[in-house]
């Protein structure tokens, strides 16, 4: 059993989730994920890792409440335990001295891009951060990210912070600031990954995206996380989760990502306290 150290809604619908898991904390690297099971009858779900404390033996994730399983996670309180917290899984994000790197984060990915930005900075890169949110109140960890970045760009749909706009404005904002990234790394919802890849392709900006398919074991056995990259089938849990965003078959990925959408919310509908679904 793994003790929940902290679980708090950091912004609406996004939760900061800190668990004591010394074996994971000891070896986790930027870009990896863990598999979590909220309770004995629960699903195994992958969560990107957003931070860790090797001394304290704790690991932090930011997750979005989407379906039944994340709703269960969202009800956990500090001091409670969960039966499964396995990891780290997946390959670490490749960190080397690339030159100038643009880290793009949205949603839970604002959290998981943080250790990547930190490691890139430590490796001697010039690191810029680009954050996208619907509104200012959905942004978090800007201070943490500012500490690891040479500059931060923010775009919100309603203009309550940064530029009013969306990810589509990213290339002009970056180029307008006189920056030509040698590498773009994107963490966040599938739409952000796909959209950013589409934007950077014509510019020739190499783009690495952290893919977030459905997983079960997460250890290279079941094959549900497969996706097409450069015309070849790859498995996100062991070949990824990072892939070249310009090579991914996005239509196929989106369809696979949604294949269990009805079942994700079905148990919520059945519970009496959520009868308005």
């Amino acid at each position: 059993m793994y003790e929940v150290i902290e679980r708090r809604m950091i912004v609406p619908n996004l939760h900061e989730f800190i668990v004591r898991a010394p074996a994971v904390a000891r070896s986790v690297k930027p870009g990896q994920f863990v598999i979590v099971r909220p309770e004995e009858h629960g699903e195994r779900i992958p969560l990107s890792v957003a931070d860790w404390d090797r001394q304290a033996g704790t690991v932090t994730s930011i997750f979005m409440q989407v379906g039944a399983s994340t709703a269960k996670l969202a009800r956990l309180k500090p001091g409670q335990t969960i039966p499964t917290y396995a990891g780290p899984l997946g390959k670490r994000t490749a960190i080397e001295k690339f030159g100038t790197v643009l880290c793009v984060g949205g949603c839970y990915g604002i959290g998981s891009i943080y250790p990547i930005a930190r490691a890139l900075k430590e490796a001697g890169n010039k690191v810029y951060t680009f954050l996208e949110a619907r509104s200012a109140f959905l942004l978090y960890w800007e201070d943490k990210l500012a500490g690891t970045s040479d500059g931060t760009f923010i775009v919100t749909r309603d203009g309550t912070k940064g530029r009013k706009g969306h990810i589509g404005d990213m290339p002009s904002m970056i180029a307008g600031a006189g920056i030509t990234p040698d590498l773009v790394i994107v963490n966040g919802c599938t739409f952000l990954l796909m959209r950013t890849s589409a934007l950077t392709k014509p510019l020739g900006w190499k783009t690495i995206v952290s893919m977030n398919p459905i997983m079960i074991d997460g250890t290279g056995m079941c094959g549900v996380c497969r996706l097409s990259v450069g015309g070849k089938t790859k498995f996100a849990c062991v070949d990824g989760p990072d892939f070249d965003g310009h090579e991914i078959d996005w239509a196929e990925f989106l369809a696979r990502r949604k294949s269990y959408s009805p079942e994700e919310v079905d148990p919520l509908r059945r519970s009496s306290c959520a009868s308005h679904f």
């Binding site: 074996a23 070896s27 396995a86 056995m221 196929e252 079905d266």
Partner: protein
């Protein structure tokens, strides 16, 4: 008179049938199909044994069980001695009695089989294991004094459990590192409840725990800690990490929604208990027309699972004929009884989806059998122009899998073959890396439970030799 009786006994050529759940009943539940011999039936079946002077049956057993020895105990009604005899060399009798392909191993060698039906060795093994489980207390073997040597085992599947069992009895300390949230490996995630109840697997795991095995769950050797890191702490390490990524046919459409690997399909149902959704959170789709591609035991398990999940029609699509089906005949017959439709000599060449990316139909070719290929089976050859469409709203691909990649990917100095398996010396199970042994699916790809256990026994003997300075 006595002699006559003796002769008559040797001519008992019919094995006692295994009582089974009625097929109309069992397709509506996940309970075990084969119900096991009653005491009297078991003793009758055991009495068919000729007690050969030079028995061949035990030579057919990958873990070398003293088969005539335990059969004799059954005849005499001394079941506790019988199970003790089996456990001398087999840590998982209740499992092996159920899922071993005995017809290819011990029973194939049985002399009675030349004239009639061989002794039902597997069923008798199961009988003893189940008899023991029904007793109040499970007996523990005598364990050698502690050696102080520490062995790490990667994976709590059949290979790892066997190594743990053997080394614990020899007095070594054993820690098993298991990646999933339950022990048992393929016995838990792969083989369905109706063929191998999970309570039996837990019981066998409990047994090695009582022998003193330490088990670390949710521990992924390779990423949680590497093999090299573990070797700083342990004197020897056995890799039994099991199966890896599923194979696909490499035809168009395999990433459509509704197309599953057998690993995924069975894991959802068995490990995650998807058949009890929404009581359990992991969903499994309940399509009406399921096509399972493949002809092995995993294909049969998938097809029979689909039947139980309520599919209207379950088709098993296999490119050769019934004779070449690699599955156990018993499982083929069970599947047939349960209404699985066998589309033999049929090769899928394209999976076709609907506008939302869900599988809709399969383009297939009819096949005919040509000359034997390198496997000795007649090669299936497509019949020109025989293309046809088969409707399906789910496809389960059960054509095998590669060895698990996590340890090979993270362990420098470990030699890997072209198929991704860890290379071992077949006589010792030693890998190219000192102090590291390996066995089971991580070496062989998709093989059987008993071959994994056979590897485990070989590895345990070699590890013991190494730890005690004999090698």
């Amino acid at each position: 008179m006595t002699d006559e009786k003796q002769t008559k006994k040797t001519l008992d050529l019919k094995r006692r049938p295994m009582p089974k759940q009625d097929h109309l009943e069992r397709i509506r539940n996940f309970d075990e199909v084969a119900l096991g011999y009653a005491v009297e039936t078991a003793r009758e079946e055991a009495s068919r044994c000729l007690n050969c002077k030079n028995p061949l049956c035990n030579k057919g057993c990958p873990v070398g069980i003293d088969i005539p020895g335990f059969i004799k105990c059954i005849i005499e009604g001394d079941f506790s001695s019988g199970i003790r005899k089996i456990k001398e060399t087999n840590a998982l009798p209740a499992v092996c009695g159920r899922v071993c392909p005995q017809e290819e191993q011990c029973e194939k060698m049985c002399v009675l089989g030349k004239k009639g039906e061989p002794v039902s060795i597997g069923r008798l093994e199961r009988f003893l294991a189940d008899w023991e489980a029904a007793q109040a207390k499970m007996e523990l073997p005598v364990v050698a004094p502690k050696t102080g040597k520490k062995v790490a085992i990667v994976g709590a599947g059949p290979a790892g459990i066997t190594v743990a069992n053997d080394l614990l009895i020899l007095g070594h300390d054993v820690t098993i590192f298991e990646a999933l949230h339950e022990c048992g490996g393929v016995l838990i995630y792969g083989i369905p409840e109706f063929r191998l109840p999970k309570s039996i697997v837990s019981r066998e795991v409990e047994y090695v725990k009582r022998l003193g095995a330490q088990i670390q769950m949710d521990y992924i050797v390779g990423t949680t800690r590497t093999v090299d890191e573990l070797l700083e702490e342990f004197d020897a390490l056995f890799v039994g990490a099991g199966a890896g990524l599923p194979w696909f046919m490499e035809i168009p459409g395999e990433n459509l929604n509704g197309v599953y690997s057998a690993n995924e399909y069975l894991t959802r149902v068995n490990l995650m208990k998807g058949y009890r959704f929404p009581e359990y959170d992991t969903p499994v789709k309940q399509p009406s027309r399921v096509a399972v591609v493949g002809g092995g035991n995993v294909a049969m398990d998938s097809a029979r699972t689909a039947v139980r999940l309520g599919a209207d029609e379950v088709h098993l699509v296999y490119r050769r004929s019934r004779t070449e089906l690699p599955a156990r005949l018993e499982e083929v017959e069970n599947a047939e009884e349960e209404g699985v439709i066998f589309d033999l000599l049929t090769l899928p060449i394209r999976l076709i989806g609907d506008e939302n990316g869900w599988i809709k139909e399969i383009e297939c070719l009819e096949m005919e059998l040509g000359e034997p290929d390198e496997s000795g089976r007649r090669r299936p050859v497509p019949v020109k122009g025989s293309n046809f469409l088969m409707p399906a709203d789910a496809v389960v691909i059960a054509i095998g899998n590669s060895p698990n990649p996590l340890v090979p990917m993270t362990t420098p100095g470990l030699e890997i073959n072209k198929k991704g398996g860890i290379v071992t010396n077949p006589e010792t199970a030693l890998t190219s890396k000192p102090k590291v042994w390996a066995g089971g699916d991580v070496v062989r790809g998709a093989a059987t439970v008993i071959s994994a256990m056979g590897d485990g026994r070989i590895a345990a003997a070699a590890i013991h030799k190494y730890l005690t300075g004999q090698a």
